[in-house]
Symmetry: C2
Subunit: 337 residues, 2 copies
C-alpha cells in the first residue's frame, strides 16, 4: 500500500485550524493573519506538503495534461516532433500522456478513448496513414476537447492543424537541381494514395515547368516497385539522367546503390536529393542533400496552437503549411559545361 502523503487537512488538524485557512494561507487568498500564515507555511514545508493535483482536477474539471497520439516512436521524424511538443508543453506546465497507434486506425480510436477517459485538456494527434473513419475525431470535438492535428490532416474535420509544405519542399529540391545545370531529372515516387506522394510529385512537375524542361515519363519511377534498383540502373545506363529527386532519403539510397553498381560517380555525374533529412544522410557517403521538414518546429507550432485553443476555445482556426528547408550536401554538384 502506498504511503499516504501529507494533506492540507493534516496540516489543519495539527495547527487547530480549518482546511480552508490552510488553503488560503498557501495560495494567498487573504483572510489569514500574518502569524498564522507563516506558521502554516513553515509546517507545510517541514512536512513536505505538495498539493494533490487529483483533487484539484476533480474540482476544476481540468487535468493540466495533454494527450498525444503518434504513429510510432522509432521514426526519427516523430521523435523530433515529440521533442518540439514537449519543449512547449512542459514550459507551460502541462504534462504529456502519450499513446501510439502503430498506423492502425482501430488502435488510434482506442487511444482517443483512453485520452478522453483520462480527461486530458487537449489532444495532439497524427492520424494514421490510411484513415477512413472520423467519428472518433468528431467525438473529441463534440466533447469540447481541443484537438490539433500534426503532420497529417483531414478535410472532414475542422480543427487546427500543422502540416509540412510538400509541394514547396519538392519544388525547392528540383528547382535547385535545375539551377545547378541538371536537365534530365528522375523522380522516384512514394506510396500510392498518399497526399504527400501526390504533392511532392506536383512540386517536381512545377519546377520542371518553371525551367521549361519537358517531363520525361521514363524518368518517373514507382518507389514500391520490387526491382526498383534495376529500373534505376537502366535509366542510368542509357544516360537518360543527370539528376534525381526521391520521395524519401531511403529511396535516394536506392539510387546510390544503382549508381554504385554501375560505378557512376555521385555527384560527379549525377546529383541526388532525398527527402526528410534522416540523421543517416550525414553519415552516408557522399552525404545526401535532402529536404528538411522541420519536425521540431512542427511540434512546437502544433503545441502552441493547442495551448491557444485551450486558453480560448473560440479562437479563430489556426492552420499552417510549414516551410521546409533545403539542405545541400555532397550529393549535389554543379554540372560542368
Amino acid at each position: 500500500m502506498k504511503k499516504k502523503r501529507t494533506s492540507i487537512t493534516d496540516i489543519a488538524n495539527t495547527l487547530q485550524v480549518t482546511p480552508s485557512t490552510v488553503s488560503r494561507a498557501l495560495n494567498g487568498g487573504g483572510k489569514v493573519s500574518e502569524k498564522k500564515r507563516l506558521e502554516i507555511i513553515s509546517l507545510a514545508k517541514k512536512l513536505g506538503y505538495r498539493p494533490n493535483p487529483i483533487a484539484k482536477s476533480l474540482l476544476e474539471n481540468r487535468t493540466n495534461t495533454i494527450g498525444l497520439i503518434i504513429p510510432e516512436f522509432t521514426h526519427h521524424f516523430y521523435s523530433r516532433m515529440l521533442s518540439g511538443i514537449e519543449s512547449v508543453t512542459s514550459k507551460a506546465g502541462y504534462q504529456l500522456l502519450i499513446c501510439t497507434s502503430n498506423e492502425d486506425q482501430n488502435q488510434e480510436i482506442k487511444s482517443i478513448h483512453t485520452l478522453l477517459d483520462a480527461r486530458v485538456d487537449g489532444i495532439i494527434a497524427t492520424i494514421s496513414k490510411m484513415n477512413d473513419k472520423f467519428e472518433h475525431l468528431q467525438e473529441v470535438m463534440d466533447n469540447d476537447t481541443p484537438l490539433v492535428l500534426v503532420d497529417r490532416f483531414s478535410e472532414e474535420i475542422e480543427t487546427p492543424y500543422v502540416i509540412s509544405d510538400d509541394f514547396k519542399g519538392a519544388f525547392s529540391a528540383v528547382d535547385h537541381l535545375c539551377q545547378i545545370g541538371c536537365r534530365k531529372i528522375m523522380h522516384i515516387k512514394g506510396p500510392d494514395n498518399l497526399s504527400t506522394t501526390f504533392n511532392r510529385f506536383m512540386g517536381y512537375k512545377e519546377a520542371l515547368r518553371k525551367h521549361e524542361i519537358e517531363l520525361d515519363e521514363r524518368l518517373i519511377l514507382e518507389g514500391s516497385n520490387p526491382d526498383l534498383v534495376e529500373k534505376i540502373k537502366s535509366c542510368l545506363e542509357n544516360n537518360w539522367v543527370d539528376g534525381a529527386f526521391a520521395y524519401s532519403d531511403y529511396l535516394a539510397f536506392e539510387i546510390y546503390k544503382a549508381a554504385s553498381q554501375l560505378t557512376i560517380p555521385i555527384p560527379g555525374q549525377l546529383s541526388v536529393i532525398g527527402y526528410a533529412d534522416e540523421p543517416i544522410s550525414t553519415y552516408i557517403n557522399p552525404t545526401l542533400s535532402t529536404v528538411n521538414q522541420q519536425p521540431f518546429e512542427m511540434g512546437v507550432t502544433g503545441a502552441k496552437y493547442l495551448l491557444n485553443k485551450i486558453n480560448d476555445p473560440e479562437i479563430a482556426l489556426e492552420i499552417k503549411n510549414l516551410e521546409t528547408k533545403l539542405v545541400i550536401r555532397e550529393s549535389c554538384r554543379r554540372l560542368e559545361g
Copy 2:
C-alpha cells in the same frame, strides 16, 4: 469552458435511484434487481457514460499512470526502449506520463518531482549520464513509489534495474573478429568516466586474452580525440590493423572514413564492428556489423519489473544484465590464409 460529462449522479437522478445503486449496477456489486440493472446500463450507454478516473484515483490513491524519464526522444535507442515499455504498460491498462531530462541532472530532479506530484503509480527512469546526486531517487523510494532504472543504474540506490551487458557484448564482437582470423584488432574507446566505456573495453581485452593475442597499446584510440581520423589512418597505413571494434556505430563510421581515404577495402582488408545497431548500419556501404543491445526488450523487462513491484511492493529485488545480440553484416569477412 469544457462540457460537463455525464456522471453517475446524473444517471441516478433521472432514474430516481441513488448513485450507490448506479455504481453497483455498473460494476456488479450485487444488491440491485435485474430490472433496474438493465435499465441503468441502457441509460448509461445512451448517455455515453464513461467513469471518471480522476474521482476513482482520489479515492483509491492510485492513478493507473506510470511516469517515465528518458534523456531524449531522438536517440533511436531510447525510442525503441520507449516502444518496449509502452507495449507492456498499455496492455496492462496503464498510461504513460513522459518527461525528458536532456541528460541534465537538474532537469531530471525536476521531472521526478513532477511525476511524484502527479501521483504516478511507479516510475521508470534512465538517469542522466553524469550523476552525483541521489536524493531525488531516494525521495521516490521514501515515498513508496516503485522505481525501476533502465539502461543505467546506480549502486547508491537499491531498486530493480535492467542494463545491457556491455562486457559480453564487446566480448562477443571481438571474439568474432578473432574467429574470422583477425589478430591486429583496433579499439576506439567511448567517453571517459562512463561505465559503458570501461566495460566494453574490458570485454575487448578479455576476448584478446582468450585468443592469446597480446594487447597493442597503439591500437587503443580515444573516440573523443579531435583528429581521430588521422590517428586511425596512421594505424592503417602502418599495416598495424586487420580488424576494428568501435565503442559506437558512429565511431565505426570514422574508421570507414579513414579506410575510404586510404582506399583500404572493407571488409577485404579490414573487418569492422560497431556498437548499438543504429538503423543507419544497414544503409551504409558496406553494411555495418554491430552489437544490438535489444532496447525493446530492455523496455519490456523494465516495465514488467515495475508492474511486479507495483503489484507486490515486497517482491525480491529484480535486476537484469540483458544479453546483447551480435549482428554480422558485410563489414566482416574471414581473412584468407
